[in-house]
Structures are given as structure tokens and as C-alpha cells.
Symmetry: C2
Subunit: 455 residues, 2 copies
């Protein structure tokens, strides 16, 4: 042990933050507003309220309020699985023989297996406050669907989940967890919606994508009385709720006088990364401190590193509002050999703006190297990581190895978003040597870009 | 919230106990010694050392030393996932509308998914100290095999696991977790051992049992240079290591001046229960306090409630020492409809002696009622429990409901040994209504008893 920092730093329950932090309040260049897909005008609150819960629309559109109080019911629910531990990765440091100090915020200690529960419970709370009957959503790897089913069960709401077909097939047990919490689960694209039928007609045999599943879930929400749609990432409101990750991390680090040099998170839609970096990026925006911030995405779905910054549809069916973001085009579907989540064609508009403004970096990594990092991590730190989270592990290990070369004692913080208990089929492929990498060609990307509307 | 006790009580890392407590030191009637299956004489240390690690044999045979210091390497490993939280089940209490105060010690917050890691790391440590190459073992539900593979990986030991065939088939992903940690996994009974071939010849199509798998693992250990056998339950040494569960629980309760009236644990081989109750039973044996202690076993494998107290083989192949315990006979194999663990025909000799002496109670519960309790618990407490642990949940709920009838504000402590992430096939059966209960007939039990040797 290099110093008296414990292996795990747990806050006391009364130290769990009582308010979420809205990073937009400190951004000079605000993220661009959502546009109506018909008129191309900024979406008005009334328009959004047909799809989303009223209070969540307010949070979505508010670029100025810095803090939103966490309602007591949500605070109570948070105490069921929070505070999440901030772990000093002593064993990983020793394995790598690095002078770097590595910390990770572990969000997998709950039955949904990931950080998704932080926003699921908030969204279910506001739906219940509004007197709704139920919620619809999509899920990729299944973590979000599980989280929402747990949250809906807590408030007695109905929960309809459209699950990306490739994950539905690779993760059959995820369905049973959702059923344990009373949700219904449909593989997407499905024949249950008009948009699903159209996608199946145009792309028979598709393994699905988050974009398809979103279209189906939205269609069911807007055509069913007493239902609204909720999304597990990308949206401003989701990043707001996920700020709990970064706020807790910062409190824990501040207790020990530790300031990270590098902050790393995996990025699919951006909610984990946006939540983890929120208070640190806030300091950076206010000129109070500087941090190197790195988004890590899969080479097979490289929105940041190879996408374009443009207004695009959030969903494959083009029924959702347009968002200005780094995108591969709403028709882009990652290669089926890609395991797990982080399959989204776009990216949070908040993170997209920050990246565009040079306030953060992004890298893309290949999946076999990600699973190699996952296995290394599992063997020394004891936690079996989700493939998504392992993108951040891979980048953190690489940065720690650079420190080994230079001798620098940098402090690295990364987000460990969840556990891989339902990803063992992907691990099996890795063990059997049948896992492959795939990097989309420039032609494939150009086909995706061609579908981006001209605005 | 009824009082200022937090939802979760976490000890500080420096409050994790530094010594295991050996309950036998305070027992007036010591558990009967293991007997050599050939001579029927008490096993000598030298004989046991052919099968087990030297230091573990010392712990196994020592009925008098009250505390064994936990070696610093094991203490360090414990900090990777301990202290385990003691949770006040406020949400379950509210759901049940009971005046009872319910607490549970949650041991599932580690990748093995259960309390088994507490002893796995100890056994791997002593094997490594002895300079061994590797360890062999059996696993039922897979929790023990996962725990041992993690522990062996930590010390660079080879790990060979024989997995009860029914679990191997119902829990394919468990195998991949063990492979992630570098273990080899064989479904049992197998053709790889003489005893496996004999069992398959005598019982073609058997779904296996812990007793069979133990025989195979022991055979490989004693016929391979540099290998020893380790067991995840039943033995005195295992209960010694698991005392960490009870010791932490007691420290946490003492901090808040809470004294449990009833202590409940599930019982397969008895290691979780023995560990949980250790310090409380110690006080009871020394006349310092009284507690009602309840073992909960499956109605399909009722060692305590319908077994006999006699010397019997620990394994189906009858190669292991004889242990005096509550047993259904080493040939007893639970009905294949029984989900998950707790499939062992016998019981810890320590617990057997305590039960025989009237110091604890035992009840048997049917599995559909166990899954009903599991689902109720999952929905309000957020944790998806293992089927094994859910036996304790079922009993705790029943006791809390009795308090509701009588108005008594009893304090109930139960052990939540693990998570059910790898048990979703059993949950699926429960959801689909295809799960059934099975209570062995008196004739079936008589057939098992007939195989118990006359000593």
C-alpha cells in the first residue's frame, strides 16, 4: 500500500448529494436545441410533452439552472444501492507496475448491474408524479431495461421494453431479470409497430440497433393512453441525473485531497461519461481547475472519432426530434460481431458540444483488446466488468502504462459502469478465440452519413 | 424511517476482524471427529494431509483455539470486497407492514456472487504457502467453483473444478466466469475418474450431486502430484473462515446497540449459517446471551428436519472420511426439479452437534414459496437474491409476519448469501409456472438411510 487511502472509499449515506448538477449552466456554448423533425424549428415544451414526462421536459430544456434538488423519494431509493464505492485500484497498479494512481467509480453494485438505475428511478418518479400508467423504452445490452423495470416496479408503473434483437438473443437471462420486476420485453425490430414492420421489410435479418428500438418504443408511447417514452442515455435530463456519479466521486476524492489528472469514461450515448465528468468539467469551464478528459468508444461504432457534428435523427425511424451531435447517421448499424452495448449511432449533444469546443478528447478501441483488459482487470481487482465499462479499463491501463514509461505519477479516474454477469457469451467467444474486431470502412461510414438531413 | 439506523451499515476497512472465531472452542459437546473409512478410527493429521493442505488440517482438528489470526495477505484480499454491508430491510418491513426490525448481511457484492470467497481465498493462501501446484474441488450451483477460481488466480494456482451436471447445464455462463479466472471445469459425474465412471455405470442419466462431484475431485487430488482437494462447505475449517460474516455483523449491530432476537440462515452444507451465527452462538454457549437460531433447508433435501444423526460418508463414492452429522445417506440425490444449491445429503458436524444439543432449530421450505419470497424481496429491496439465500428470506418473511399478528417488535437477522444472476433459468420456470415442488417420500428417504454405515 503506497499511502493511507483505503481500497474503497464509501461516503456516509448523509453525504450522498442532495441535488443533481446541470453542466449546461456553466457552458458558454450551450448544446444546440432539439429540432422538430417536420418544421426544423426548436422543439417547444408542449411538443416534447407528447413523448416525455412534463418535469423531465423542463429539465431537458433548462440550460441555466445549475442544481436540481433530488426529490426525497429518489434520495431514499438511492440509499438502497448508493453511495457507490470509489475504489483505489491498488492491485491493478501493482500488476501493471505503474507509478500512476488509479481510481475507479464502481456503479455495478445493484441488480440492474450498472449506473442506469440512477436515471431510471428519477424518470419513473416523475412519471408516477404525473399520474401515468406506464413507460416504454428501448434497451441494448439490457442494463437500461433492467434498471427501468426495477424503477417502474418500485412505483407500480407498467413497463414495456423493446430490446435490440442481437442482445435479446445473446442475453436471454436479462429478459428474466426484467420479468422478475414485472416488465414485458419484445425483441426489436418487431412486428408490433409500424416502424418495426417497415425496418424488417427494408432490412430482413437485421440484428437491430438502439436507433430501431427507440423508434418502436416511441411509437407505442405516443399511441397508448397514459404512457410516455423514456430514454436511458443521450438526453440532457439523463446526464443531469447521472451527475450523481461524478458528484460522489469528487466528494470522495476531495476527502483525501486527491485531484485527478485524467478522467476516462466509456461512451455510447454518453450518459455515464457525462455524469462522471460533470463536476470536474464544471470546474474546467469555470476556469477553476484543469483535467484531461477522455471518451472511449468502440472502433466498430466510432461516433466521436469518425462521425460528423451535425443535426441528425436520434432514431432509425426518424420519428424523434433532431439533435445536433457527433453522428454516424441514423441508418448506421454496427457490425453484428460487436458485443454488448455502445452501439448507438449518435452521442449526447452536451458532450458533442464539449468535444467540438476542444474541452475533451476521444479515442476508439478494438473489442478483443477491450476483453483482454477486462480479463486482466477481473483477475486482479476481483470485479467481472461489463464489456462497455471495459472500454474505459482499456484506456486507463494504456494511460497507466504510459506513466510507467515516463515515470510520471499521474492520477487516473475512470468510470466502471457495470458488471458483466450477463455478458458471458461474449467472454466465451473471447476465451474460444472466435471474437473478431471490425472497423467500418470509409465507404460504410459514407453510406451512413448520406442519411443525415441537410440543415 | 423508524429510527436513525442507516439503510446500510458499512464498517471501516480497519474494523474488518483480524481473526476468525472458532466456535468449537466454546462448545461443551465437541463435534465428533472424522473417522478413517477403512479403520473407523479418528483420522490422524498425517492421513488428512494426503487430501488437504497442512495448515487447513491443523485448523480442521483444533477444537480448542478460539481465535485464528487472519494472515495479512488474506486481510488484503478481503478489502477487495469486504466489509460486506449489513442492511436494514426498511423497504421489506414496509411492504410486510410488520413491527419487526429486519436486518440482513449481504455477501453477494463480489464476482463469485456469494460468501464462498471468504474461505476460498483462505484455502488458496495456505495451498500457496505449502508450495502446491493446484487445487481440485467440486461445485454445485457454481458459486464455490467461481470463488475458488478467483482465489487460485490471485495466487497463480491451477484450479480444476468438477461441477454437478444439472448445474453445469442450467448455468452455462458460470463456466465462463470460471474460465475468465483461468479454471478448468468438468461436468460431474464424468468419465475422467474411476469413481465417475462407476457412478455413471450404476446410475446412467444421473443429474449428479455434490456427493458425486466431491468423490471425483478427491480422486484427482490424491492421484496428481502437487495437488490437494478443497471443499467449500461442511468442514470445520470452512465454518472457521466464514465466521467473518457473523463477526462483522455483530460489530455492526453492536455499534447501534442492536441485539437480534432471531438469527436465520439457509443451510446446505452449513458454512454460511455456521459463519453467520458463530459469535452469537458463542455468547449463547458461554451463557452471556440468548438467541433463537433457525436453519432453513429445502424440503427436497431435508438433512436436518428428516435426516438421522449418524456417522456417514461425506461423498457418494465413499472415499472421504466419515463424519458424524445429520444425513440423508451419501447415496441420496435430490429430485432434478430442485433448483440451485443446497443439494448436499449431509451437514456440518459442528451444526449437527449444536442442533442435536437443542441449541438451534431447523425448518424445511418448498421451492415455489422460496421463489415467491425471492421475487417479493427483489422488488422492494432491489437485490436479486440467489435461490439458496432465498430460503432464509422466506423464513425471515414468515417470522416477520408472525410479529405482525402478535404485534411483537422482534429483531430478525438473516444471511443473504448471494445474488441470483446465474439462476435466471430457475426464475424463468417460476415465472412460467413450470416450477414444481417435490418432497421425498419416506420410502425414498429409507433407501438413502439404508446406505449409512453401521458404526
Amino acid at each position: 500500500m503506497k499511502n493511507p487511502i483505503p481500497y474503497k472509499i464509501y461516503l456516509r449515506e448523509d453525504e450522498i448529494p442532495k441535488a443533481w448538477y446541470n453542466l449546461r449552466a456553466d457552458m458558454k456554448n450551450k448544446p444546440a436545441p432539439l429540432l422538430n423533425p417536420g418544421t426544423k424549428e426548436p422543439m417547444r415544451a408542449e411538443e416534447l410533452e407528447a413523448v416525455f414526462c412534463k418535469e423531465l421536459v423542463r429539465q431537458e430544456l433548462d440550460d441555466n439552472t445549475a442544481y436540481f434538488e433530488i426529490p426525497p423519494d429518489i434520495q431514499n431509493f438511492y440509499t438502497m444501492y448508493r453511495p457507490a464505492p470509489l475504489v483505489r485500484a491498488y492491485y491493478l497498479e501493482e500488476k501493471l507496475q505503474t507509478p500512476a494512481n488509479i481510481y475507479y467509480k464502481f456503479e455495478g453494485n445493484n441488480t440492474s448491474g450498472s449506473h442506469k438505475l440512477n436515471t431510471a428511478i428519477a424518470q419513473a418518479y416523475y412519471a408516477n408524479q404525473q399520474g401515468l400508467k406506464g413507460l416504454t423504452t428501448e434497451t441494448g445490452a439490457g442494463q437500461w431495461g433492467t434498471a427501468l423495470s426495477m424503477a417502474c416496479s418500485y412505483f407500480g408503473l407498467d413497463c414495456k421494453v423493446f430490446m435490440v434483437k442481437v442482445s435479446y438473443e445473446q442475453k436471454p437471462f436479462r429478459r428474466e431479470v426484467m420479468r422478475t420486476y414485472g416488465a414485458s420485453v419484445t425483441p426489436s425490430p418487431s412486428m408490433e409497430t409500424a416502424v418495426g414492420r417497415k425496418i424488417l421489410a427494408d432490412h430482413p435479418g437485421t440484428t437491430g440497433s438502439l436507433g430501431c428500438a427507440i423508434s418502436e418504443a416511441v411509437e407505442v408511447a405516443v399511441t397508448s393512453e397514459g404512457y410516455r417514452y423514456v430514454l436511458g442515455s443521450v438526453l440532457n435530463q439523463v446526464l443531469l441525473h447521472q451527475s450523481i456519479i461524478g458528484l460522489e466521486s469528487k466528494i470522495a476524492l476531495d476527502k483525501y485531497g486527491v485531484k485527478p489528472d485524467i478522467i476516462i469514461g466509456c461512451a455510447g450515448g454518453g450518459s455515464n461519461l457525462g455524469g462522471l465528468i460533470a463536476p470536474f468539467m464544471g470546474e474546467k469551464l469555470r476556469g477553476e481547475a484543469d483535467y484531461r478528459i477522455i471518451a472511449v468508444e468502440p472502433a466498430s461504432c466510432p461516433s466521436f472519432t469518425r462521425g460528423v457534428f451535425a443535426y441528425d435523427f436520434c432514431d432509425t425511424g426518424m420519428v424523434c426530434p433532431l439533435s445536433k451531435m457527433y453522428t454516424l447517421g441514423s441508418g448506421f448499424i454496427p457490425a453484428p460481431n460487436h458485443a454488448g452495448g455502445l452501439r448507438y449511432h449518435g452521442m449526447s449533444s452536451i458532450l458533442s458540444q464539449l468535444y467540438h469546443d476542444g474541452l475533451m478528447e476521444a479515442i476508439a478501441v478494438e473489442q478483443t483488446s477491450v476483453f483482454q483488459a477486462a480479463e486482466t482487470f477481473a483477475r486482479v481487482e476481483g470485479i467481472l466488468p461489463a464489456p462497455e465499462s471495459s472500454h474505459a479499463i482499456k484506456a486507463a491501463i494504456d494511460e497507466a502504462l504510459k506513466c510507467k514509461e515516463t515515470g510520471e505519477e499521474k492520477t487516473i479516474l475512470f468510470g466502471l459502469t457495470g458488471t458483466g454477469y450477463f455478458d458471458m457469451m461474449a467472454y466465451e467467444k473471447f476465451h474460444d478465440g472466435t471474437m473478431s474486431d471490425y472497423i467500418p470502412t470509409d465507404e460504410e461510414l459514407a453510406a451512413g452519413f448520406a442519411g443525415i438531413p441537410k440543415i
